[in-house]
């Protein structure tokens, strides 16, 4: 079946060092903390660059392209009646040692492969823009009323994504 995501979204706090990451998708861009001195990305965000210890770090947009490093199709019904969904670990093109745990969407869960190129697509819940990934170069397939346009404002409560 075409993957979407879990039936309920548990959300991150946005008031700490990770806050910019979770709200970054408001303009459609994925951002990581970037070090102006050594040029490396730091993830999760930290007060200084963990590589060179420079304090000169700030969020910087990336291409949003990534590669599937591993994945799993979750079948366990943590919430009764939930459909299977794909949890993936993706590596960011700009720096492959930066990984995100995420969901793959818009792809048949039987077609997911390690090494598959993917690109970010955001799903908004309140002020949080969750970075999900879909196969590179494919238009988003309609997953539900809200997911058909990832830039739409939220239409309901957490995890309410309409019929699928």
């Amino acid at each position: 079946m075409t993957a979407s995501g879990p039936p309920i979204r548990l959300l991150p706090r946005t008031d700490g060092e990770g806050g910019f990451f979770w709200t970054s998708g408001a303009d459609g861009r994925l951002r990581f903390l970037h070090c102006a001195d050594c040029g490396r990305l730091a993830h999760p965000p930290a007060p200084r660059c963990p590589s060179c210890l420079s304090p000169d770090v700030a969020p910087r947009p990336v291409s949003g392209r990534a590669t599937v490093h591993s994945f799993t199709v979750n079948h366990q019904q943590w919430i009764p009646g939930a459909d299977p969904y794909v949890v993936a670990l993706v590596t960011i093109d700009e720096q492959p040692d930066v990984r995100l745990t995420t969901n793959l969407v818009g792809v048949d869960d039987g077609e997911v492969r390690i090494g598959m190129p993917v690109e970010v697509v955001f799903e908004q819940h309140e002020e949080v823009f969750l970075p999900l990934f879909r196969p590179l170069g494919e238009e988003a397939r309609p997953l539900g009323e809200k997911d058909s346009d990832p830039t739409l404002p939220p239409t309901g409560g957490t995890g309410d994504r309409g019929p699928r």
């Binding site: 700490g16 990770g18 799993t72 199709v73 979750n74 079948h75 366990q76 949890v87 090494g115 999900l132």
Partner: protein, 402 residues
Amino acid sequence: MSADAPLERRAVISGIGQSAVGRRLGRSDLDLTVEASLRAVADAGLTRDEIDGLATYPGMGSGTPGFAGPTTPDVQDALRLRLNWHDGGGEGPGQMRAVIAACLAVGAGLARHVLVYRTVTESTAQGSGGRQGIGGGGGSGKLPRFSGFLQWTLPFGAVSAVNWIALVAQRRMHEFGLTREQLGEIALNGRRNAAANPAAIYREPLSMEDYLAARTISSPLCLYDCDAPCDGATALVVSHVDYAADAPHPACQVNAVGTALRGRPSWDQFDDMTTMAARDAGASLWERTELTPGDVDVAELYDGFSILAMVWLEALGFCGRGESGAFVEGGRRIALDGELPLNTAGGQLSGGRLHGFGLLHEACLQLRGEAGDRQVPGDPEVAAVANGGGPIAGAMLLTRAR
């Protein structure tokens, strides 16, 4: 012992004890802990008045319901212990941290006889419902927000260690050609050994067909790749080595501990997703001993998920990186009469999720020659024990004290 020998060699495990182990026993964690503790103290030939140290993992308020067990203040007060040293906590080299801390306390002279326990009541806590994900199942009303590591996984429905570990298993299939049949050998081996363990949770035969037909939990892991939640307490007495000769049962000498964490302390940012912290803990274990993997007679390796036992086989050098699938193929090599008997009481997959301490308990029984129908033949002298998965790992080498 030379002055520069590893400090942990000043410690032995002088006594062991286990409470009733089962599904939904309906008894309190403190009740089970007291039962196991009194057995361990008696087994060590001691009385509670001689216990002057107390340690547990993971300590106060940790994890999902039924996970943490009673705190050290709970147990100290229930047994009215008079302590020179006490320690409970969850950060360190896996569940093993409590035992390692006890060894160091004994070696440093802070205590002479440390009672160490680990108690779970996850089966009773889960009741008739299924296993919970971390963060709860949702429900009605306003959901909490998450920070720390969980913020990076929970929003994506990666709500359980099974999801995080499945990523390791899938990656190993991709890099090493690991097969589900090879994974299944860990589950089948555990079940065969559990048949000779009266306290095991699952003892009926399990075939490869049964394994392959089981429902998927988080691909490629199925039901039989996941350990069995249970209720039970395990207790050990860690004593100074000069007590070994007075202990009524053969003492188990702590030869070396493996505690390293050299990669990033993260489930998803570790440099090598096929190994994670086990790699570092395993390497540091062998840096502290003259023994080699070839000297090990019995291995009790953490199998909270089947794949973790395979990760540990490689991390401890019993085979090369990526070779554990071929190593366990057919199951002969890891059987009770094989070249490396593995998880001889059934491990956690069939014996029950005593969260690492069941493996320690079994290693001691094997070295003492008291494992009954599942006793490894040939008087095993060296046992390797490993706990943990992902960024959590600790290892220990035990020998039969002379």
